[in-house]
Amino acid sequence: MEFGPHLLLAVLEGLVTASILSLTAMGLSLVFGVMRVVNVAHGEAFMLGAVLAWWVTGLVAGHPAVGFVLAALTAPLIVGALAAASDRLVLKRLNYDPDRTIVATIGLLYIAQQTTLMTFGPDARPVEPPFNQRIALPWLERTEEGWTWFYPWGLSITSYKLFVIAAAAAILVAIWLVITRTRAGLLMRATQQDSETAQAFGIPVGTVYSVVFGIGAALAALGAVLVVPIQQAHYLMGGEPLLLSFIVVIIGGLGSLPGTVIAALLIGLSDGIISVFFSPTLAKIIATLLVAMVLVFRPQGLLGKAQT
């Protein structure tokens, strides 16, 4: 393959990564924005979503699409409920103190991960995609007869990957509408701006916190359900999405939702492109250091506004 088609392939793969990442990071960003706490166990919500998707699809016989739809409906619900329960049982009792919340969510991380190891086991397990046609992509090139279309060998994408991109975009639009156009969104924004005043106006801040924590985890789980037909479910798979989501949320500006989406596209695409052309470990080292430097020298994020 020549450079052009190769790049197109890298961009498409990057878009798939970016789609999943934007859902996961959106969950983390929402929780940080509204509750002002960092949820270190966020990656485990992703992992639980994938493992539950594997479990649910295994329960249903028949066409893989039936199991997939069922998984997409139930896995985020279960994970969200678990997260809301842990908010009630643990975080609420810590009064959302930032330091102690981080320590407690590290604990939750190990609990979720190790319980999965005990029940699901150490093996990676695949989930069958609901549909998976290979779509060859055309490429335009100048030949002796002028510009012609042709299909380079290896330049293709599956219909499922295209579906992932479309589904993620639809979910993000839905979140945007919920936050800006509904009463529930209004309550969230009010709590985000000033939780004490919101409380004084009769908003059940405690409930809002639990719901937001649940939604944040459910978004990660939904991302995982989408990714699990491409990438297998494994009990240690939560680490990478956690780190990448951190990076995205920091670059996008802590708590800024549009910033999060833009940063997810940036990171997802560059991750796809970088890993096609460079050594992945070196790319990760550079990326991690760069993000740490962003946090050191521009704590409000690349797109966030400085806090006064």
Partner: protein, 313 residues
Amino acid sequence: MTDRLRTDLLHLGVIAALVVLFLTLPTYYAGNLSRIMVLAIYAIGYNLLFGYTGLLSLGHAMFFAAGMYGYGLTAQLAGVPALPAFALGILAGAALGLVVGALALRTAGVAFMIVTLMFAQAAYLTILHFGTYTRGDEGFVVPSEARIVFGIDLSGETERFAAALILFALVLLATGRLVRSRLGRTLVAIRENEERTRMLGYDATRLKLIAITLSGALSGLAGAAYALLFGYVGASFAAVPYSIFPLLWVLLGGAGTTIGPLIGVFFMFYLIDTASGITLAYLLIVGVALVLLTLFAPQGIAGLIKRRLPWLP
């Protein structure tokens, strides 16, 4: 009896108790004691920053690894003898502490935790990247010549225990003095109220930088000692769990107390030792312990004792 005398007596008592334990316990447990003391040095280093200065780092494994690789790599690749290589390990921990501190101290709170976490992740990946020299996750065995100090081979059980005890005793007594010194008290003042400390004319940033450098040096010392005494260097010691462990030990034992780190390591060591005999998922214990500690005993075991004995350092 003055508080200082009480403190020194307490520390000497702890050291004497360790010797008695070594002499009376069967060999298996005696071997564990050496490991516990080395890890307790690491915990003391972490406690200096977290317990006394109030800075929560999530990346201390990089300092431990700096000491471990500073000693191990110079011994392995350059054939440097044990003592200079060991000193290099401590120096590597201190230098990394200084550099990371200079950058990370520009942030505070949650951002400080994430920045340290990311630096540690970068350090871990760097070790993997230079796998030709570091042998990555697999690690390497320290050459036996580099484990001989003053003609004594430290791979023997008794020699190893003696070396670990000497190092631990030195570190414990030194930190006991340090936290009662002017510097130590100022660090506690920063933990309690940084603004006010600044107003009183202290250069808080410089003092925090000193704290993180000292903490890095102690963690590096622990890492180098681990490689020296147990003869193995591997990337798993630079990974995320080794950044979480010292936090857990210090929280469990009691943050901001001199004997808390030892207590924490002791308890957690045997808790994990027991659990890993039962199930593969022994880290579950770590998770449950962290949650329960933050919920019910944020001062840890020594913190609970300190309520009765307020003179406890």
